[in-house]
């Protein structure tokens, strides 16, 4: 490559594109984020809640939207499409066509006057046609950028030359009918494709009657459930009433070779379960039924969520596909006819509403983009990748992530996106910082002694506004001591409101700001930055949570909710009045990495860090690299594991930036992000290594399923990994039976091990191909060959592998030569003779996880796998900064997913390593050494291991003695204040939650009694 450009074009502004953009921008690269619609956010912005935690989708996404819009290294090109790509890796010229919006973003103040006057109503795409929008519109309230757009296809002026009302009412001359859009060329070193998927068009399957108003797609239902949707979260039928009985039909447009949609869509089983669960939370009397073929709850926490929905919430799951949706011509009522799962009985059942769980298909625009990019597609219509290079397309320098390469859920998409960012930034690592500018804030103004507090009360659309009397709260706030100005906003977090807050600070010479809206967890960083832009110290800010604490929990008691909101605002103002500026410290750090675990994940993570020019040490406790994959011999794409492992191990061994230590274990870790000291021990190794970041890639192991299905009792019972070696060596067994979920999906291990179905089907195919006369039976509970691996399942069936379902209450009983199997379809017991029984045992967390978790001070989940910071949006990091995870250490997964996560962890880690210095937060806890008696209680309560007892000599008038006193490491401390609460002498102060501030809040609370 002759030339390298330190910029990257990211195509697609969904959660994948957003994550890639943020990672790359934080790695010092310039990013053009190109999105064809008017706002970034993608499909995730339309979701109500996310499975399996039921977090509000928009609430977790919108801070990321805001981060993108405010990041100095990201240039947002919305309403734009890529029309040409020339050049080669390192130096591409990308042609981008910007469609005309007909509104000048610099002049528009988003006053919405135009919207109220626009006479044209168009079905609202964001709400999936559930209501109307105008021809001049904003895609959704939190849209980024907050730029109004005229829809040229529907605007009366642009189509017929009539109307022009928006021009007349616009006070800022922002409307420009002559906008022609423009075509620009950008020069980038790499391109990431992440334009996502398109929901399957259900009208292709006429028998499911999407034409009927009470038959809706799952995404339409998602909007119905959402409080920002067309019915404010109340699921509503076409006649205005609310349904009592809802059915979901799965696999609409998935697992259907008949219509050319062979793949499983991976997410539908879970979103249907989620939708049913949430709908039942809204209305406990609601009856919900999910018609499925297999329930594919394969991800982390999914099986548990499914079991809870089935057994506790009461969602009915039926393994049967209705013939279609029947509509009674007289009553217009819906009914479904289906075959019962445990007999051949037929039932016709009425439902008020039917939700079609539509699959994820490659979008038309993605296909065009793929052609422009000149990358290959696979035979399912997704972008072609290899499982050991999961984010690399067939064209060097162009990467791909998310559901453009296969249907996948949000965490897998986010991991993919970070993985793609990692590969792109490795390619351009020498150009880091060449094209970026650092964000400059105005210098802080003097705050003086006078308290001048401003209050903004947010309506959060209807979330707060429909319950809490917002004008009343504003009026009340205006009368509080210290408050010089108060106002309300529809969305305090929207881009224009943010500008408004900064203006408010200047106009009223404010020195403290209280926003009464939602949780500080998601929105505090945004508002703090707003203060910085207004020349205020970011810690002069206080959030009053009147959504979670008031409008949501007291939605049926509006008066009380309003009173509580007044109380909350009063308490927040009392504290805000006492806030003082706090300052961050810059800390030197070590920009090298440490990766624990030399499996495929650890090796890839280490290589990705090394490729970016940072030194990394890879530690493996066994005497060879390869990890879990060493126990298998083939991959699910048919290649041998050696074909992937050997070149990888060779690269790891020869990389200049990479040190490998085998037979070595981590025994102790001190320090914090940027400055870890790892104590490594092994034969001939006993060293204390300094590093800035750590990645846990310690993997998982296959359970030896003692006690399940007579394993260990008879010699001819083996696990899948053993079988793989046996096949390689040649086996003569004629009758081979597999039993799935051997030791998994039970009380002891309630999770699904995700990979076993694909592994089993792969091995069944091998056995059949090895000897077509051989009989292979797979006894299963649900076949979970998700995504593209559905093809393997079909192939196994084609080859004559026989699949029989069993249920957990009647498991197969294994004897020495035969298996007693209850066939629930025939309602009979059968004996199956076997020569070889293969158990698909789950991957389990190694016992060493517990000690490793305590060394790193990171949490484990209930199944003893490592628990990431956020199951959706932070899949490869811990809350404990500077420590990351990837591969099967996080949860069971397939090779491509482990590799993708490995790159993602490296990408996230390198956002730290590529900085010039580390900054502490300002609101740390500090110790008054004179008051500290060295009791050490603080060290017991700190979740981050920030306090450390250090030896000190105390000299008094007469007595001198040795003791210990606490020091708090400011780079580790998160300012949670636990230590301050615990400290018996009051030696510790949490600087942002001082005693006087807390007392003021309590006093303010008392005033309301």
């Amino acid at each position: 490559m002759s030339k390298l450009v330190g910029a990257i074009a990211v195509a697609g502004g969904g959660v994948a594109g957003i994550q890639s953009a943020i990672d790359l921008a934080n790695n010092g690269l310039k990013v053009y984020l190109i999105e064809s619609s008017t706002s970034i956010g993608g499909k995730m912005s339309q979701l109500d809640k996310t499975f399996p935690t039921l977090d509000c989708s928009m609430c977790t996404l919108s801070p990321k939207l805001a981060e993108v819009s405010r990041h100095p290294n990201i240039e947002l090109l919305t309403y734009s499409e890529i029309t040409g790509i020339e050049g080669e890796a390192g130096d591409f010229t990308v042609t981008v066509k910007k469609k005309p919006t007909f509104v000048d973003p610099d002049k528009c103040t988003a006053c919405e006057l135009c919207v109220s006057k626009c006479p044209v109503k168009v079905p609202d795409e964001y709400n999936e046609g559930g209501n109307d929008r105008k021809a001049i519109y904003l895609a959704f309230p939190q849209a980024v950028p907050r730029v109004y757009t005229i829809d040229a296809e529907n605007c009366l002026y642009l189509t017929k030359g009539k109307c022009g009302k928006c021009v007349k009412v616009c006070e800022n001359d922002a409307i420009n009918y002559d906008d022609k859009g423009e075509e620009i060329e950008i020069n980038v070193g790499s391109i990431i494709l992440s334009t996502g998927f398109e929901p399957f068009d259900a009208s292709q399957l006429e028998q499911y009657r999407i034409d009927h108003p009470d038959v809706v797609t799952s995404i339409q239902f998602e909007r119905q459930l959402s409080s920002s949707g067309p019915f404010e979260g109340h699921v509503t039928l076409s006649d205005g009433t609310h349904p009592k009985k809802i059915a979901w039909i799965q696999c609409i447009g998935s697992r259907s070779p008949e219509i050319g949609r062979r793949n499983c869509s991976s997410v539908c089983c879970m979103y249907a379960t989620k939708e049913a669960t949430v709908a039942m939370e809204h209305d406990p009397d609601l009856e919900t039924t999910i018609f499925n073929i297999d329930v594919r709850a394969f991800g982390k926490g999914f099986e548990e969520f499914y079991q809870k929905a089935k057994n506790k919430t009461g969602v009915r799951f039926i393994h049967s596909r209705p013939s279609g949706v029947e509509v009674d011509p007289q009553t217009n009522k819906l009914s479904l006819k289906y075959e019962l799962e445990d007999s051949n009985g037929i039932r016709q059942e009425e439902f008020d509403m039917v939700v079609l769980s539509i699959g994820l298909t490659p979008s038309k625009s993605s296909k065009q983009l793929v052609n422009i990019a000149g990358v290959e597609m696979d035979d399912l219509g997704f972008v072609k990748t290899m499982i050991d290079r999961p984010v690399e397309t067939t064209r060097h320098g162009i990467f791909v992530s998310g559901s453009m390469k296969a249907p996948k859920d949000i965490p897998d998409t986010v991991a993919d996106a970070s993985g793609a960012a990692s590969k792109a930034s490795s390619l351009l690592s020498s150009e880091r910082g060449s094209l970026v500018t650092e964000k400059q804030y105005p210098s802080e103004k003097e705050i003086g002694d006078e308290v001048r507090t401003g209050v903004v009360v947010c309506r959060c659309g209807i979330n707060i506004g429909n319950v809490v009397d917002v004008p009343n709260v504003v009026e009340y706030a205006n009368g509080l001591s210290g408050v010089v100005f108060a106002k309300e906003e529809v969305y305090a977090c929207s881009s224009d409101s943010i500008v408004g807050i900064a203006d408010m600070v200047k106009e009223h010479d404010l020195n403290r700001v209280v926003v009464a809206s939602c949780t500080p967890r998601t929105h505090e960083p945004l508002f703090r930055e707003t203060l910085m832009e207004a020349g205020l110290n970011p810690y002069m800010f206080e959030l009053a949570n009147i959504r979670e604490h008031c409008s949501w929990v007291h939605q049926h008691e509006k008066d009380k909710a309003t009173k509580k909101a007044r109380d909350t605002v009063r308490m927040s103002v009392s504290r805000a009045n006492l806030l003082q500026p706090l300052y961050k410290e810059r800390v030197e750090f070590d920009n090298s990495g440490l990766v624990i675990g030399g499996g495929i994940a650890g090796m890839n993570a280490a290589l990705d860090i090394a490729d970016k020019g940072f030194h990394v040490t890879l530690v493996e406790k066994m005497s060879e690299l390869g990890g879990l994959l060493n126990t298998y011999t083939t991959l699910q794409d048919g290649r041998s594991t050696n074909e992937v492992l050997e070149p990888l191990i060779a690269r790891v061994g020869s990389h200049d930036n990479l040190t490998v230590l085998i037979d070595t274990e981590l025994v102790e870790l001190e320090g914090s992000m940027g400055n870890f000291t790892a104590h490594l021990k092994g034969p001939g190794v006993d060293e204390k290594l300094r590093c800035g970041v750590c990645i846990i890639a310690t993997g998982a192991t296959e359970l030896m399923p003692e006690g399940y299905f007579s394993y260990g009792k008879y010699p001819n019972i083996v696990t899948q990994s053993k079988l793989e070696h046996m096949i390689d060596e040649g086996i003569s067994d004629n009758n081979v039976v597999f039993i799935q979920c051997a030791g998994g999906r039970n009380d002891e291990r309630p999770y699904c091990s995700r990979a076993c179905c694909t592994v089993a089907v792969k091995n069944a195919i091998r056995l059949k191909k090895d000897d077509p006369k051989r009989n292979v039976y797979i006894l299963y509970r649900d076949i979970r060959t998700f995504g593209r691996w559905e093809d393997l399942y079909t192939q196994a069936r084609e080859l004559g592998v026989v699949f029989m379902r069993y249920t957990e209450d009647k498991e197969p009983e294994v004897g020495e030569k035969s298996i007693k199997m209850f066939d629930h379809l025939l309602n009979m017991d059968f004996d199956i003779n076997y020569d070889l029984l293969v158990l698909s045992a789950p991957l389990v967390a190694p016992e060493t996880n517990e000690s490793l978790a305590s060394i790193f001070k990171v949490p484990l989940d209930s199944n003893k796998f490592f628990l990431e910071a956020h199951i959706k949006l932070r899949p490869v990091e811990f809350a404990n900064e500077g420590v990351f995870l990837c591969g099967t250490a996080q949860a069971p997964k397939l090779v491509d997913e482990a590799v993708s996560q490995a790159s993602a962890a490296a990408s996230r880690a390198c956002t730290i390593l590529s900085s010039d210095f580390l900054e502490t937060i300002g609101n740390v806890s500090v110790v008054d050494p004179e008051l500290c008696i060295g009791c050490g209680r603080c060290t017991l309560v700190c979740p981050y291991n920030a306090p450390e007892l250090k030896e000190i000599v105390v000299e008094t008038e007469e007595i001198t003695y040795n003791t210990k006193k606490c020091e708090i490491n400011p780079t580790i401390c998160k300012g949670c204040g636990s230590c301050a609460v615990e400290c018996p002498t009051g030696a510790i102060t949490s600087r942002h939650f001082t005693e006087s501030q807390i007392m003021a809040v309590i006093k303010a609370y008392g005033e309301g009694l």
Binding site: S256, P257, R797, V802, L825, L826, I832
Partner: protein, 382 residues
């Protein structure tokens, strides 16, 4: 093969499953792809009247290589095949299994409608060298286009219903003449459709061989049939070097100079519709002639059965299907119910005209060709 023995508690079946490679593999019916979603059973028209379960039958065959008598219930109407997400061809499976079953055996014969008289006739036809259709017509013997009437003569002979089947042949010839096609009247044997689907492949193969020879000798280039079953069989199950069309496909674009204003409804025969994908031709032929069509609730791909395909199962169960179909036709308010298959015509008419009927269906039931020929000749007023 399966070795079945009774166990102690309930039914316990011991199966030596693993003697040799499963015979279900690589069948053209694809049944090994079935993941038991049960959509087939839920959508099956027969299931509306008999406790049949394609899902279970497939499953038993897949897993246990067990036979099921259920295969005799299937009308092979193709609705399940059309709708199966995995493209499993259950009707094909049924046909293959019936073939394996030696249909002539005691059990099978009694299941076939009308005591198997039509089957017997076809069997006999194979051995009688000179056997041809009983309709004594020749047409233009030098024409490159041949019209084949199917077994209309037998139907006139053995069906005691108020239908003149021969009229279909006459009307077809008349309409073909009207279009200037000047066809030859083909003297052939039974096409073998029923034998094929009843599982009598031996007779079918002989009929196919003999008919293929007759067709080759006739010198025609296009074979026209007015029967949906003949059309499917001759074009799909024969390997003819010539073109086979259903007469509706010729009538589709023909200008017959008819200006009818009759409101009709159209019953899709399974062989013309789902088997051959021809939904538009008969409809176009009707509307081009001025007729207006009011569709029944289930039409085109979703059309319900007449209940008799391949002469399987003419009983009170299949009659229930006919009743449902006739009721749907009644709901349209149409004056005439049009079909393109003589078997549909026979059986729907049979029910309509039964003695002391509980149901009263005012509309007429006619074959497409007969209807059009009547409209052409102004016979409506007769």
């Amino acid at each position: 093969m399966a070795n079945i023995s009774k166990g102690l508690i309930g039914i316990s079946i011991h199966i030596e499953l693993f003697n040799d490679n499963k015979s279900v593999c690589n069948m053209s019916s694809n049944i090994q792809l079935c993941y038991q979603c049960g959509k087939c059973t839920a959508i099956c028209p027969v299931r509306r009247v008999i406790n049949t379960s394609p899902r279970n039958t497939i499953y038993q065959a897949n897993v246990y290589e067990m036979d099921s008598d259920d295969i005799w219930n299937c009308l092979t109407c193709n609705l399940c095949y059309d709708e199966c997400p995995q493209d499993v061809n259950y009707p094909e499976f049924v046909r293959e299994n019936r073939t394996k079953k030696d249909r002539v055996g005691a059990g099978a014969g009694s299941r076939v409608a009308h005591n198997g008289v039509f089957t017997l006739l076809s069997d006999m036809m194979v051995d009688l060298d000179k056997s041809r259709t009983g309709i004594n017509e020749k047409g233009n013997e030098n024409s490159k286009i041949g019209y084949y009437p199917g077994c209309l003569d037998f139907q006139d002979m053995f069906f005691n219903v108020d239908v003149n089947f021969r009229e279909i042949a006459d009307s077809s010839m008349e309409l073909l003449d009207e279009m200037g096609l000047d066809p030859k009247f083909l003297q052939m044997k039974c096409c073998g459709h029923d034998q094929l689907w009843q599982g009598n492949s031996i007779t079918f193969d002989k009929l196919k061989e003999q008919n293929t020879k007759l067709i080759e000798e006739s010198g025609i280039e296009t074979l026209v049939t007015s029967c949906a079953e003949c059309y499917r069989t001759l074009s799909q199950d024969y390997d003819l070097p010539i073109k086979v069309v259903h007469i509706s496909q010729l009538l589709q674009d023909a200008d017959l100079g008819i200006d009818s204003d009759v409101n009709v409804t159209y019953h899709d025969a399974c062989r013309l519709g789902r088997h051959m994908g021809e939904y538009d031709a008969p409809r176009d032929a009707l509307t081009n002639s001025g007729a207006s069509i009011t569709e029944m609730k289930h039409n085109k791909k979703d059309a319900w059965c007449c209940g008799i395909s391949s002469m399987m199962n003419c009983n009170d169960k299949s009659k229930a299907l006919r009743k449902a179909r006739l009721d749907e036709a009644k709901d349209t308010g149409a004056k005439v119910l049009i079909t393109t298959c003589p078997k549909c015509l026979a059986h729907l008419t049979c029910m309509k005209t039964e003695q002391d009927s509980v149901e009263n269906y005012e509309y007429e039931i006619k074959d497409l060709t007969v209807f059009l020929a009547e409209q052409k000749g102004g016979k409506n007023n007769e």
